[in-house]
């Protein structure tokens, strides 16, 4: 800022900002690409004045001074224009002359992103690195048995069950008494978690769905994807690809009338119905799709007029107890497809997760429970919710699983874990750890955005601007100028890469355990951790 301007409490210098633009005058060719690409206008072209003093040796002549100007890139310091570190400038710079650098100092911006009394909101996930999952090791390794599986070459089952698996005696009783047993799906244990049409761009959504269809139809991997709460495109509802889709219903019920209208025309049943009660990234909080993002397309899919704000309340209305909530919703959703489609709730990991689970154990229709931990991502939430609300997935999942074990139903209600899986890139290891802690499968969203679409967001407060619709990669934007940067085919191809590689990695982990016919769900004797407290809490081995 100008030195002769008055300061205000939120006047910041570049040093105060979390991301600082390093710009090299010598390398810069003034091509304008960095300022054209910057999603938040954190940098601007500027005129600089430079002074040159000419003083002769021995001060023989009168000293002279001259002013020159030069042009270059200036970083803005107003909180509204702070650099988000996405580094798109670096990506487009032909001369590598510009790059955001992480400050070496405490972030002062944090004290000022509440202008007008509006607390910081953002996308991404908890801006805190690390976590228990990456520390878990797989310590039970069979080297001597035959058959020793070679993960890279041997085919073995990487499948899990979604749906209520009745105990044999119950199964017999159900057939006898009801003429019905709950539907169960055999699916791939890595599910793409709910990211709505609206939260994601149309190109991203299409890419994900296409990749999933490819995995199913070309590679025989029964991968499933949840729609998130935002409806489902009419064409998808009426296509055979619907069988790969888990339709999510959440507190806003957007798009559900369109889904209901499509039911008579559906070629196939969806994989399952996910009732979203909570989200790991912002437990207890709802959502709001701002009116300006509700364009014609989103509106058509959600079944609303364009240009209106769409609130998703923190809870489903008209439901006043866990029992009522669970019973009512599960029954309703089963009925929609004639009890042919599994229905399960999704909740935020929390100390109340067990209460929900206990209820499900008494509800013979409940097809599973998805638990979303505090490291889950979101398109938009208050920072305080993301960074401070919620429960780590590992212990919540573990508590639930051990609770099932104690009531003897661990093989009956599959648990699906989500929230921060692959947070540091270790997708298969994290997934395997959760499976061995008791998950039947895992749900991932953020990792998929990072791996399949090049999402730049990270836990060092990088980018994370999904909430303002300016995603520089076109993943979470509804602006064609941004989302057309993303090609659905490229995304689909990367989805395939991710799954095929994950598959190999997961086999590399489970094969040495000698598991070739079923996932090692709950096989916690294979787990160890270099932390006695965690080991005790999770009831796994303490290894040092």
């Amino acid at each position: 800022m100008s030195s002769d301007a008055a300061i205000v409490p939120s006047s910041l210098s570049i040093k105060d900002l979390p991301w600082q633009i390093a710009w090299d005058l010598d390398k810069c060719t003034l091509c304008g690409k960095c300022t054209a690409i910057c999603p938040v206008h954190a940098i601007e072209p500027a005129v600089f004045r430079k002074r040159v003093m000419d003083t002769s040796a021995g001060v023989k002549a009168r000293p002279e001074n001259r002013f020159q100007t030069y042009y270059g890139i200036r970083q803005k310091t107003a909180p509204a224009y702070h650099c988000v570190g996405c580094a798109m400038c670096a990506m487009v710079c032909p001369n590598d002359a510009i790059m955001p650098m992480r400050t070496d100092e405490a972030d002062k911006l944090k004290f000022h992103i509440n202008q007008g009394g509006e607390p910081e909101r953002r996308g991404g996930r908890r801006n805190i690195a690390g976590g228990v999952l990456d520390q878990i090791k797989f310590i039970r390794i069979s080297m001597l048995t035959d058959p020793a599986l070679d993960a890279g070459r041997h085919e073995f089952e990487v499948r899990t069950l979604l749906g209520r698996v009745l105990a044999p005696e119950d199964n017999i009783r159900f057939v006898r008494e009801h003429g019905w047993i709950p539907p169960v799906r055999e699916i791939y244990p890595l599910i793409i978690g709910g990211m709505s049409f609206g939260a994601l761009s149309p190109t991203m959504w299409e890419g994900l769905q296409m990749g999933v269809a490819y995995l199913n139809e070309e590679l025989g991997m029964p991968v499933r994807i949840s729609t998130g709460e935002g409806g489902c495109p009419p064409r998808l509802l009426r296509s055979r690809f619907l069988q790969y889709v888990i339709l999510q219903i959440a507190s806003g019920y957007f798009g559900w009338d369109e889904i209901i209208h499509a039911i008579p025309e559906m070629k196939v049943d969806p994989c399952a119905i996910e009732i979203k009660y909570g989200q790991g990234a912002k437990p207890g909080d709802g959502g709001l799709l701002m009116w300006h993002k509700v364009n014609r397309l989103i509106a058509a899919i959600r079944g609303v007029p364009p240009g209106v704000s769409l609130p998703s309340p923190p809870t489903h209305q008209t439901q006043y107890s866990i029992e009522e909530s669970v019973a009512k919703m599960i029954q309703s959703m089963y009925m929609a497809w004639g009890f042919r489609v599994p229905v399960y709730p999704k909740i935020s990991a929390s100390s109340t997760a067990l209460a929900v689970l206990n209820n499900l154990t008494r509800n013979p229709y409940a097809g599973g429970l998805a638990i979303d931990g505090e490291d889950g991502g979101t398109g938009a939430a208050y920072n305080v919710s993301m960074d401070h609300m919620g429960h780590p997935i590992a212990s919540s999942l573990r508590d639930c699983y051990l609770n099932l074990v104690s009531v003897g139903q661990q093989n009956e209600i599959p648990l699906f874990a989500g929230g921060g899986i692959g947070k540091n890139g270790n997708l298969a290891a994290n997934a395997a750890a959760l499976i061995m802690l008791g998950a039947s499968g895992v749900q991932v969203g953020k990792y998929i955005m990072q791996a399949a679409a090049g999402c730049l967001g990270s836990e060092t407060a990088r980018c994370n601007i999904c909430n303002i619709g300016l995603c520089p990669k076109g993943i979470t934007s509804q602006d064609p100028r941004l989302y057309r940067r993303l090609d659905p085919e490229d995304v689909a191809r990367r989805i395939v890469d991710v799954y095929v590689a994950f598959d190999t990695e997961l086999r590399k982990i489970v094969a040495p355990l000698g598991r070739s016919t079923a996932l090692p769900i709950g096989m916690s004797d294979a787990l160890g951790i270099n932390d006695a407290a965690v080991a005790e809490r999770l009831k796994i081995k303490y290894v040092v």
Partner: protein
Amino acid sequence: MSDNQYYQIPGVENGIRLESRVLEEKIQAAVAAGHRRIQVDAYGQHGIGGRLWQAETDKVLVRVTGHSGQRLGSMGFPNTRIDVMGPASDDVGWLNAGAEIVVHGNAGNGVANAMSQGKIFVGGNIGARGMTMTKQNPRFAPPELWVLGSAGDYFGEFMAGGVAVICGIDPQTPENILGYRPLVGMVGGRIFFRGPHDGYSKIDARMTPISDADWAWLDKGLTYFLTAVDHLNRYPEVADRDRWQMIAARGPKDKVIRKIRSMAEFQIDVWDRELGRGGLVGDLIEAEMTKIPLITTGDLRRYVPVWANRKYRAPCENACPTGIPVHDRWRMIREGRLDEAVDMALAYTPFPATVCGYLCPNLCMSACTRQNAMMPSVDITRLGKASVKAKTPTPPASTGKTVAVVGGGPAGLSVAWQLRLRGHEVTVFDRSEQIGGKIISVIPEARIPKDVVAAELERVRGLIPHVHLQQALSRDDIIGLKTDFNAVVIATGAQKPRTIPVPGGQKLTPAFEFLRRAKVDGIDPGKSVVIIGAGNVGCDVAVEARRLGAESILLIDVQKPAAFGKEKAHAEAAGAVFRWPCRTREITDEGVVLDTGELLPAHTAVIAIGDMPELDFLPDTVKTHGGFVTVNAYFQTTDPAIFAIGDMVRPGLLTDAIGAGRKAAAVIAGILEGKTPAEAVILEEAQPGQERISEYGGVHAAAFDGRQVMDKGRVKLEYFDPRITEFHDVDECGAECASCGACRDCGICVEVCPQAAISRRELLTGGYEYVVDPTRCIGCGFCVGACPCGVWDLVENEPLLV
């Protein structure tokens, strides 16, 4: 060969099974003793028949009866031939290094595992993982496994060399003689087989035609094999070449992954075929979805530059109550058009020299953007002073409309001037002996040369011929004007001094009276003067008092003195002292007594706390409030036919009065054309980018201006020398004016644009504009960042329809 020729080694002695170690010692001992035919009656011992290298090149025949244990013939040597007379356990020929091993029955799992040389013949079926991890060492012949029946699961896993022959005779699994998932990881060797199979690892191996040489080798080997396992009678079954197939390992470069559909093909052939053209939302979206680059042009730019010339008011222009576009005058100076720069001011004010050059506190300079960088404001007084030479404009032809202006001070003359410039007939009435009002009556001569005022008043009189002086109008006169004229403006100012209700208040001399008398040297202030009210008028009094011989001059006020600018400076130069807060209790012959009891001695005590208008002559239809005339935003009084401007409406600066005159004139002109005041105002508003100056000389410059003031932050003061401390002439002033918000036609934008997208275009109507070629522009904003004047804007592009 007959049994009795064999050296017998039993596996059980005295009813006790020999340990594998003991049996091995016995076999080795027998060989060492020269036995070359050995029969072992096995009892499940490990590794029988291997490692017989002691016999060197002698052929050693080992016949195994009973239960052969695991790893029969392991590490077998080329000199060894082993015949197992029944079935064999797991891992027959493990790590075989050359032995010929014949199993006359079935063999278990792992036959030939890791075998490198030698031959294994099995006269039955084999279990899982046969022929796995076999090698071929180039120093030796490849290992061979011949199986009469079928292979178990995972056959040939990781096979790295050698030949396996699966004859398919009496197979254990007739529907699939190669078992489940054979040849996974195979990198070398060949498999001959005869019979159905259920697939193999096509990534690793491929079906290969059997050549004549292959067949010759196979045919010869079959005879040998069948002979060895005593099944030569089955030869006719295997003699049909056409029923044989061969699978060979793929070489490293041959390892094609199975052909899978590309995603592009999938999208066309599967995805779009099922969903319809355009995929998921092809039915809902019309806009194109194809991929675009990061840097885009045209409609795909997120932001677009706009040449917003004159879209905003320059800070100087905005600050000037008269509304003079000061920066435009400096532009004319830069263009060498001094005369025009001088003359154009007359479109705004009849007193460009008197006011801008001398008497105005120059609010334009206080607002100058240059001050943001501690640089001196461009000095308008130089141009103001030069304006004394401005030529009287010629008014347009008379419209025949008449307007009466009561009061010939700055406000009245401004409105009269403006109406005359629009061709209306104006008659000015003033009760004094000459026009000019305050300018000539109370402003000390020290502040402005007489001849400047005289010249400007002469110019005014040149444009306004109908002036009636010494005409004090009554209420009835005003009512009469309403009928005689199309419009009436009253602008009689404020001459009635405000005073304070204290004892002895009548002893105070009103400031304007003091100044008026001072101008004709008609007053002697004495040695000490106290002035109550330390505003600019008080300062004028102080200056005059000094000129007339006062030695002690004290300006007191109840609050911080409001004086500022030149007036204050002059008063201080005259030795006046400011003192506050002071509350006056009484005026005595000795001076001013404060409420503290302190006496401020004064020969003359002057009251200078402002003046009030005289309103007695106004008709009842003209309402007042708090001693001033009530007007609306158009300077219309409560009597719509009567306008009021100047100090009688709101006390202010000369420039305030002149500006009010301009605005009132615009409204009156509009009304005279049959418009409502609101319409008149809208039509007066300047359009952004309009060349308003060129309109001068017939058409009037707009008085009402809906534009916003420009953000000073847009101006690039970096282009200017911060070490300039003063200006020497108007040319220097013109050069250093930043021309806020108005293009100075410097061409920096054209040159700085990395895409060469900006060009300058002459307009047919005169003037120019800068235009952007959208097919080249990438929306980088370099034009915005470089423009010295802050003319270029970067705005969000129109939303694309989805």
